[in-house]
Amino acid sequence: MEDLNNRIKNVIIESLELEDITPADIVDSAPIFGKNEKGEGLGLDSIDALELGIAIKDKFGVSFSSEKEETKKHFASVDALAAYISEHSKG
């Protein structure tokens, strides 16, 4: 799980060409888009969301449903994304 989280973080950094951020800077449970009340989170925007969706699909071979709410849930945090990927890439 730990390893998968790191891979996801690297995909996030690479696919969005993020500067000044290392995997260690990304909190596993913090939101990927926007921020939580503690001010944690990457604060990415909706354009990044689409870009990232494609990158995750390419790297991990999982696709996301066309239901917006559900997809939003999976992209809530690195942890949530890892859970979704490990669940869907096996089958």
Binding site: L16, D25, E51, K68, T71
Partner: protein, 778 residues
């Protein structure tokens, strides 16, 4: 012949002429000479008719007709010959043929003249052109009939049989006429079903549509809204508004249905509507005066707000339904765009402007929309979304979806729906990137794209995927829609008919139209090539407003916001294009900033400014990359050039080095660089005494040369390199890089930063490299 009776008599004689002649010959044994008197009287009637006719074209036709009828009558009388008596129907046919054909040549055509007489509203309807086209075809059919009928009538004259002549001209040809009328009526009904119905928004009334007509729908079909719901909801909001003092209302609703209900209520109640996509607390605070209302559909923390859901849930006691016409030239609105001055720019609108534009849109595109549903991937708080996804559906009666399509994959849910999709280049780019298979629509959607130019390759891919080549709309908040194009037909824009184009002094496009209030028209910031026929090519923007993924943002605005932090001495924000479009900010901190951020990691500083900006601007247009410099790059004239700043961002900054300041002149780059002690560059070399290895020094030179000086990629040779002193961690050095394109030679010098102005800088190392210029060509 002034009386109605006279006209009836004339028409009766004219129509029954073949029968009267037949009876005269057959039953009363009258001679052709006597019968020619009837013809003579008809000539007289025609003459009387023509003297009262004012149109000059008809005068000539009538004169010719009268002359010919007269000649026939005279010859028939003189020669006592029945043939000339029988010519009358032929002459009438030819005369009608001449008239109908003439109206084709000099529009409006005859059928359309009749249609205009029948329906006064047609003249001001967006369907006018379509109707006129149809009537043209009808007129052509009549022309063919008159040719045919003249030929047959002539034939019956010469056949010699009185019976056949009178049977054909007195009955059969009339049956043909009746048949054409009947068939045309049926065809017309069918064509009308294919024409888009349209009621101006300001003229909508409760009775404008059937109660059960679908107005708005939700993906799951649960929260569908009918015309009855719509009327009653608008009425409820109106009661709420009108129970309060007449003040302007700020409006922001994510749900398109709520938005449309609220907007129409404000317009009908005569409340000025301030429509804003940005609902950040700080922004609302800026545009709001204390007495202003704020109507929204999502909880708002930054002050008092009225939830539209609460208003709709209120139980209005009794009272008639409030839903009626309003004066479009008095209803006021304000839209927001980013202005050049740095403050968000409010654009004042009279509803008349939108109404006039709707009319144009229906005229040009309306007939493509019949029986479709409207979907959107764009925000209805901006003009394009407002027009296409809120006002147009209401004016045309097409149902619209309450929520935006956010992901291209959602198209999979629309396969069986005939859709109109108001979209944008940003969305279509994602669609093209994410989708490999044609989507399989049963009926290809009609896709509009606006907000920025749509690359041809994206348009082509979208057309392969959806079956429709997106129709681009060019316009702005200030001007409304200006022109349209489908890029498969070239990059040229076709203006809407009401838009009159010209080129302003600064080379930018100027537009005058019925939906621009300024008498001198509006001059855009877009450079233009204008053709004689009004079509034009765009040549790029000339001012400092840029578009980031279709969102318009003024660079000075972002810069001013950053300066507002009180931590920034100087700043330059530039637009960048990589995988996506984004903004990047080069910042020079002032003393307060330096103190505040002393020892902070760069990420923390980035986050500070990013979070600050999010109070005012959307995330998408907030800078994504940051550089903190000692000073902004200037050329010799002291000007900061955008492309120099952009070049800085093209060189990815890592934790291994920092460019603190630089200058770029043709072929020369001079900059101050710092290699922090945490840099990987020192690893493995002299752990006790860190100094920058030679290979790293050369590598840095190559990076700088390639990024700033357009040097070929490949290195062919490293020449003499002298190392005179160490480059130490955390001690800035000056790097000077020169490139001579002719010899393909790069030379460099690292020196100490001089302590005082006139110190002779101490050289740390220097050398030269030869680049492989052949390679760059290949």
């Amino acid at each position: 012949m002034n009386s109605l009776a006279g006209k009836v008599l004339f028409t009766a004689i004219s129509v029954l002429y073949p029968l009267i002649i037949y009876c005269g010959l057959e039953f009363f044994g009258l001679s052709p000479r006597r019968l020619s008197l009837l013809l003579l009287s008809l000539a007289f009637f025609h003459f009387l008719n023509f003297t009262r006719n004012k149109s000059s074209l008809d005068r000539w036709r009538m004169i010719v007709l009268v002359m010919l009828v007269l000649v026939c009558a005279v010859v028939a009388f003189a020669a006592d010959n029945i043939l000339f008596v029988k010519f009358y129907p032929v002459l009438v046919n030819l005369s009608l043929l001449a008239f109908f054909a003439f109206t084709l040549w000099r529009p409006p055509n005859f059928a359309f003249r009749m249609a205009l007489l029948g329906d006064k509203a047609l003249k001001d309807s967006p369907s006018k052109n379509a109707v006129e086209n149809y009537c043209r075809k009808v007129t052509i059919v009549w022309c063919f009939f008159f040719v045919f009928n003249s030929v047959v009538a002539t034939f019956t004259v010469f056949m010699g049989s009185d019976k056949i002549w009178s049977l054909y001209n007195g009955l059969i040809s009339y049956i043909f006429v009746g048949l054409i009328f009947a068939v045309e009526y049926l065809v017309r009904k069918k064509v009308q079903r294919k024409m888009q119905s349209y009621v101006p928004v300001c003229d909508l009334e409760q009775s404008s549509r059937p109660e059960g007509a679908l107005v708005s729908f939700e993906a799951d079909g649960v929260d569908n809204k009918t015309w009855r719901d719509f009327v009653s909801d608008v009425s409820k909001v109106r009661y709420h508004l009108e129970a309060r003092e007449n003040t302007p209302w700020i409006l922001h609703c994510e749900d398109s249905y709520f938005f449309t209900v609220a907007l129409l209520a404000m317009l009908q109640s005569g409340r000025k509507a301030l429509v804003t996509a940005n609902r950040q607390d700080a922004f609302i605070k800026e545009i709001r005066k204390p007495e202003y209302g704020f109507l929204t559909d999502e909880p708002f923390a930054g002050g008092a707000a009225t939830m539209i859901q609460d208003v709709l849930a209120e139980n209005v006691a009794g009272g008639p339904v409030k839903f009626d016409k309003f004066d479009k030239s008095k209803a006021e609105m304000v839209m927001y765009t980013s202005g050049t001055t740095g403050e968000p720019k409010a654009v004042y609108k009279l509803f008349m402007q939108f109404e006039n534009e709707l009319f144009e849109l229906v005229k040009v595109f309306g007939n493509d929309w019949v029986n479709r549903k409207v979907f959107s991937t764009v925000n209805h708080h901006h003009i394009y979304g407002l027009l296409f996804t809120a006002l147009l559906p209401i004016a045309t009666g097409l149902p619209f979806r309450r929520h935006r399509i956010d992901f291209p994959t959602e198209f999979a849910n629309l396969l069986g729906t005939s859709a109109v999709v108001a979209s944008s280049p940003a969305f279509l780019k994602r669609l093209a990137a994410e989708t490999n298979q044609p989507i399989g629509f049963e009926c290809a959607p009609i896709i509009y794209s606006s907000g920025g130019p749509l690359p041809v390759e994206v348009a082509q891919k979208a057309s392969e995927l959806t079956g429709f080549w997106p129709m681009e709309i060019y316009g702005s908040t200030e001007t409304g829609g200006i022109a349209y194009r489908q890029s498969k037909n070239g990059a040229v824009w076709t203006p809407f008919e009401v838009c009159k184009m010209s080129v302003a002094e600064n080379g930018c496009l100027n537009i005058k139209s019925s939906y621009i209030l300024e008498e001198d028209g509006f001059t855009t910031g877009d450079l233009v090539d204008l053709y004689d026929d009004g079509r034009f090519l765009l040549k790029g923007r000339s001012d400092s407003i840029v578009k980031i993924e279709e969102k318009r943002i003024s660079l000075p605005e972002v810069e001013n916001r950053l300066k507002q932090t009180g931590l920034v001495r100087d700043v330059r924000v530039v637009p960048m294009v990589g995988k996506r479009q984004y903004l990047a900010a080069a910042i020079v901190l002032n003393d307060a900033g330096l103190e505040k951020f002393a020892g902070s990691p760069k990420l923390a500083i980035n986050n500070y400014f990013h979070d600050y900006l999010l109070q005012f601007i959307e995330n998408t247009v907030s800078p994504k990359k940051w550089r903190y410099l000692e000073e902004l790059p200037q050329n010799t004239e002291g000007k900061i050039r955008m492309r120099d700043v952009q070049a800085l961002f093209n060189l990815a900054e890592s934790s291994n080095f920092k460019i603190l300041k630089f200058r770029r002149e043709p072929g020369v780059w001079t900059g101050k660089i710092l290699f922090p002690s945490t840099s990987d560059y020192y690893d493995g070399h002299f752990p006790e005494f860190k100094l920058l290895p030679a290979v790293v020094q050369v590598d840095m030179v190559l990076r700088i040369a390639r990024n700033f000086l357009d040097v070929p990629k490949a290195l062919s040779k490293i020449h003499r390199t002298k190392f005179a002193g160490p480059i130490l961690p955390d001690v800035p050095v000056i790097l000077n890089v020169k490139y001579d394109a002719e010899s393909a030679k790069v030379s460099f010098t690292y020196t100490h930063v001089p302590a005082a102005e006139n110190d002779v800088p101490k050289i740390l190392s220097n050398g030269s490299l030869t680049m492989n210029s052949e390679e760059s060509l290949g």
